[in-house]
Amino acid sequence: MGILDIKDVGKRFGGLQALSDVTLSVAENTCHAIIGPNGAGKSTLLNCLIGKLIPDTGSVMFEGKSVLGRSAHEINQMGISRVFQTPEIFGNLSVIENMMIPIFAKRDGSFKLDGISAFMNHKEVLEQAEHMLEDMNMADKRHMHAASMSRGDKRRLEIGMCLSQQPRLLLLDEPTAGMARADTNNTIDLLKQIKDERDITIAIIEHDMHVVFSLADRITVLAQGTPLVEDTPENIKGHPKVKEAYLGEAH
């Protein structure tokens, strides 16, 4: 039993069987990567984990509770944070405000309208946010407009926002897609650091083998909507089935 248990998940879009019989388990405090060629069903699987899609069959359990049918904010409140392919941050707000929102969400839940607390100072939230920015090496950018930062910094901020909630599980959807090499390496270093320093489980969906092999403890290869093989990175590297899936039989 892992922290996240996906069992017999299947999803069909019209005539296309996007996922079939996907069963995989993410163990606590590991980094589990899901890779696969285009169209393998990686994004569909991710969307089933975060409440965007409901699979036709099977179950998705997080810490023993089903996530199916819950809305995005409920799933977050269960302890799952998500990093998007294109960084989703609050572009119109300053960096420090960006960082305060998830901390408020963690503290106050999905909705709080409290006249008294609105009249109190929010020092401790501000302090936590500043602390987190320092951890992310972004303290000097605290008053910047979030939208005006580089892609790498936006990614860093987004990851920081997710971490500030101390999630049990961090979902990363191609975190380095469309990034310059330097930004990619920075992001890998950041993720490695997070993995080493925090008690956190990471599930990562990725295209870039370099990223996967430098981070993952276990890798699941998805092909045509079904898991092909699951193993450690060393074993995946030379696996004939993986080569086949990526390059096709003819090669």
Binding site: I50, S71, A72, H73, N76, Q77, S81, R82, F84, E88, I89, F90, G91, N92, L93, S94, E97, M100, I101, P102, F104, A105, K106, D108, G109, S110, F111, K112, L113, S117, A118, F119, N121, H122, V125, H145, M161, Q165
Partner: protein
């Protein structure tokens, strides 16, 4: 002070001084001079400035912070007015119960309308609110005649019960202080009017303004701005946007109801036309003209539009002839004809042109204009430009 930071305190104090001195500041010209018609310091108009200021402040909490454009806010204004007049009819001319009830009924209406309209966002939200407001207008105009008195408008009649009236005055009052009671001060050629009604509205406006600052700066305000910035991220941050939106909608509806109640308190009448879509559009114009999402903008915009409406529309051809009498006859006719299109009944044309110019050249509204002027004069302390956009 009052839990505000230095900058906001200064802004509040400046607004308070300007509001309290308005009867003097707005009457810069001697009463019998030719320019006296540009004086805005008479009670009826000043009351409109602050009442519509409240309306616009409330509207800005919804539109400025969350970006949801409601096109039906006049419905709450109308509901507030009707409730207030009913209080006059049933209890007495005291404005306190009237104002309280107008805020409560507008809030209840906002819960219902908001609950339905907020199922959609963007243009669909705007259309839904517009539809609700037009429905309310038509209900008030014809269907609900027993409650609203239809096209005649609701007013107080001498045979109304007024259970709590006793020996109280026959005009609207605040525990005996009549709204219309006036203190007229004449200094040399100048005349300054101070009325109870204006000062009551001014104090309520300042309280509303203060609350709006608190909302802007609170975690609640931060969430509303986050809704405008990125709803996807907000969802995945564990926040449910809908209750926040509904709360913002209801608060801004209550502001509108308060404005409606005050309008009725100044003049105990309520008509369906107060709910018409043009009235809803007007508050949108006020907010955009002044500066969306800024603290001061909506108040400035409200003052600007109400000034234009009352002052430009009073200028007629005779006045124009007296201004241009020095020009040769033919030319005078031509100039007067040209200007006459933009004043009097044509003041909407002036307003339209101004609106276009401001939206194109000053997207941040009058507040941005003020900031640019301040910068041009090279003021070092940037925060002195009294209203930084909420960012």
């Amino acid at each position: 002070m009052f839990g505000l930071d230095k900058k906001d305190t200064r802004l509040l104090i400046i607004v308070a001084i300007l509001t309290f001195c308005a009867p003097i500041i707005l009457n810069p010209f001697p009463a019998d001079s030719a320019l006296a018609q540009f004086n805005a310091g008479y009670p009826d108009l000043m009351q409109r400035f602050v009442i519509f200021g409240i309306f616009a402040i409330g509207f800005n909490i919804l539109f400025g912070l969350t970006g949801y454009l409601s096109f039906g806010h006049a419905a709450f204004l109308g509901v507030g007015s009707y409730s207030a007049v009913w209080m006059f009819k049933l209890l007495s001319y005291n404005v306190v119960p009237a104002i309280i009830l107008s805020v409560i009924t507008a809030g209840l209406f906002a819960i219902v309308i908001g609950f339905v309209s907020l199922r959609r966002s963007g243009i669909y939200f705007s259309i839904l609110t517009l539809a609700f407001a037009q429905m309310s207008y038509n209900l008030a105009y014809s269907v609900l005649t027993p409650i609203t008195n239809g096209e005649t408008g609701l007013q107080v009649y001498s045979n109304d019960p007024q259970y709590l009236k006793g020996n109280g005055p026959d005009v609207t009052h605040l525990f005996g202080l009549e709204m219309r009671s006036i203190l007229e001060i004449k200094i040399a050629g100048w005349t300054f009017d101070f009325t109870i009604g204006y000062y009551m509205c001014a104090v309520i406006m300042l309280i509303s303004f203060y609350l709006a600052i608190r909302i802007f700066r609170s975690p609640f305000g931060l969430m509303l701005r986050a809704i405008k910035a990125n709803q996807t991220r907000l969802n995945y941050t564990g926040i449910s946007p809908r209750p926040y939106m509904l709360a913002a909608f209801v608060i801004s509806g209550m502001y509108a109801g308060l404005a409606g109640g005050l309008l009725a308190s100044m003049d105990p009448l309520a008509g369906a036309e107060r709910m018409q879509w043009t009235a809803s559009g007007e508050v949108v114009l006020m907010t955009i003209l002044g500066g969306v999402g800024t603290l001061l903008g909506p108040v400035l915009g409200a003052g600007f539009i109400k000034y234009a409406e009352n002052i430009f529309s009073k200028i007629n051809e005779n006045v124009l002839h007296s201004w241009f009498s020095l020009l040769p006859d033919g030319l005078e006719e031509a100039v007067v004809w040209l200007f006459a299109r933009f004043v009097g009944e044509g003041w909407h044309l002036t307003l339209g042109l101004m609106f276009m110019l401001i939206v194109i050249f000053l997207p941040g509204g009058l507040v941005e204009g003020g900031q640019r002027i301040a910068r041009a004069f090279g003021r070092k302390d940037k925060d002195a430009s009294s209203s930084t956009p909420a960012e």
